[in-house]
Symmetry: C2
Subunit: 312 residues, 2 copies
Amino acid sequence: MIADVEEACGRIAPHVHRTPILRSRSLDRQTGAELLFKCENFQKTGSFKARGATNAVLALPSGVRAVATHSSGNHAAALAHAAALRGLAAHVVMPETAAAAKRAAAEAYGATIVSCAPTLAAREEAAGRIVAETGATLVPPFDDPAVVAGQGTAAVELIADAPGPLDLLLVPVGGGGLLAGTLIATAAHAPRAAVIGVEPETADDAARGFRTRMLQPQVLPVTTIADGVTTAMSPMTFEIMCWLARDIVTVSEAAIVAATRTIWERLKIVVEPSCALPLAAILERKVDVAGRRVGIILTGGNVDLDRLPWNS
Amino acid sequence: MIADVEEACGRIAPHVHRTPILRSRSLDRQTGAELLFKCENFQKTGSFKARGATNAVLALPSGVRAVATHSSGNHAAALAHAAALRGLAAHVVMPETAAAAKRAAAEAYGATIVSCAPTLAAREEAAGRIVAETGATLVPPFDDPAVVAGQGTAAVELIADAPGPLDLLLVPVGGGGLLAGTLIATAAHAPRAAVIGVEPETADDAARGFRTRMLQPQVLPVTTIADGVTTAMSPMTFEIMCWLARDIVTVSEAAIVAATRTIWERLKIVVEPSCALPLAAILERKVDVAGRRVGIILTGGNVDLDRLPWNS
């Protein structure tokens, strides 16, 4: 499957950014580590999701005319953008409760939005109906080998562009697509580096699953400011996690908020609260980084700029 | 004087960042131009002021033990940082009204802060007293050839790192140190590029001076959200402007706020409102950028993250 990640690197390179690594001397001094922040907030459509969606869409057989998905977040815009690259129609099922900005972003890239009730059953029913009616191919947000392979390209770049061998990679965990892709990429390109996933305490299905070695549901309702990681894992991403992750740790909401603000202040970049999970784990001492070179994937920058995460 | 800028490039290179250029395909499409944003918000101490202060401090003769300045803004932290590089003491006069964050930043780099009444007379009196008492060398925020030469290094990098010849450079104008340095650098490195300065309508001393060819005072009180450009020019920066600038344009407060938000949203970076003057001029059609390759210096990213510029 590492071949899939490497194929994805070549396939998506003309269509996505090779995002920069940013550093902060003051954060390095504060943590005693060398922290390398891979800025997927600068990625096309504002998140790493452009990688997986682009890889999946470009890998579709010819003859496909339309793609579909259900997503309330960054995968929607990413799939709309990827579909436009190939001139395909994109149908996106979004819960009525989705943020207006996310809806507008997907529409701006040319997607047709279908609203549904904010339940998983309603989403799946609506997506199934669209596939039946339009013949669209479903491209799920994470439970798809081509999507996972695409997400793994961020770690390939981070490992290649780092100023030396990485000791540790820290990755937020929602559905597990980014974690799984990072694990596959790291196993091949930096086999001595540990990969640790980070979740909110209030959305800890991956951490419970990792301990029990049983796929766990999310405990509803999920209440975290890290709205990008509220989804539960799939059997595929869970399996890869169990085989390859070093650990899964959880962090408090207060730490997520503080780490988000720290990234805005020190790195001068706009990132989503979900991005801040790895730094929150460092600041809460859930992972030991002293003396280590640590790669951190900042997942996206699509936030509501009408209010600050720490004032909400 | 271009030799001074080139000497500054070599002198400060080990101590400042060669900041990246960011682009936005959606902003390019919207404006019909190729916009290249030089990200001095990522610079040491969070603004381009690190360039001029570092150059001035490193150019001081040996035997100097201390430096001093008066500043309520980014020059204070920049001078403190530069002084620390050489192991010099730094004394900074700040008005009592200066933002607590700016004061804390200068203190964090090791400066001694002296508070004074918020008038130019009180500032100059306090600075003069410190120089008399401590023997410190005064490093002013812009009215200094070594500071101007240092600020010019940003344009040298922007011209060198652009993907082709620049047609236009857009620069915010406060005291005129960045404008003057950019003009000198551009005259030598991109002589066919026009340089246009941008000011708030409510702090338009440079625009009035450019039209009348007479150094103009700022009309007090200055009320603009672009707090980095409230100072009036000095005779030196005024003279360089008159000889070399193509034009000086002004923009409304509403345009500055809107452009600030646009930069945060599209480029995913944290910038001060003063940074947004050039984009505001483009969006208000004060400059014609269609079909042109345009370099824009984003001056700094030190904002109060307790409130958003567009909610204040």
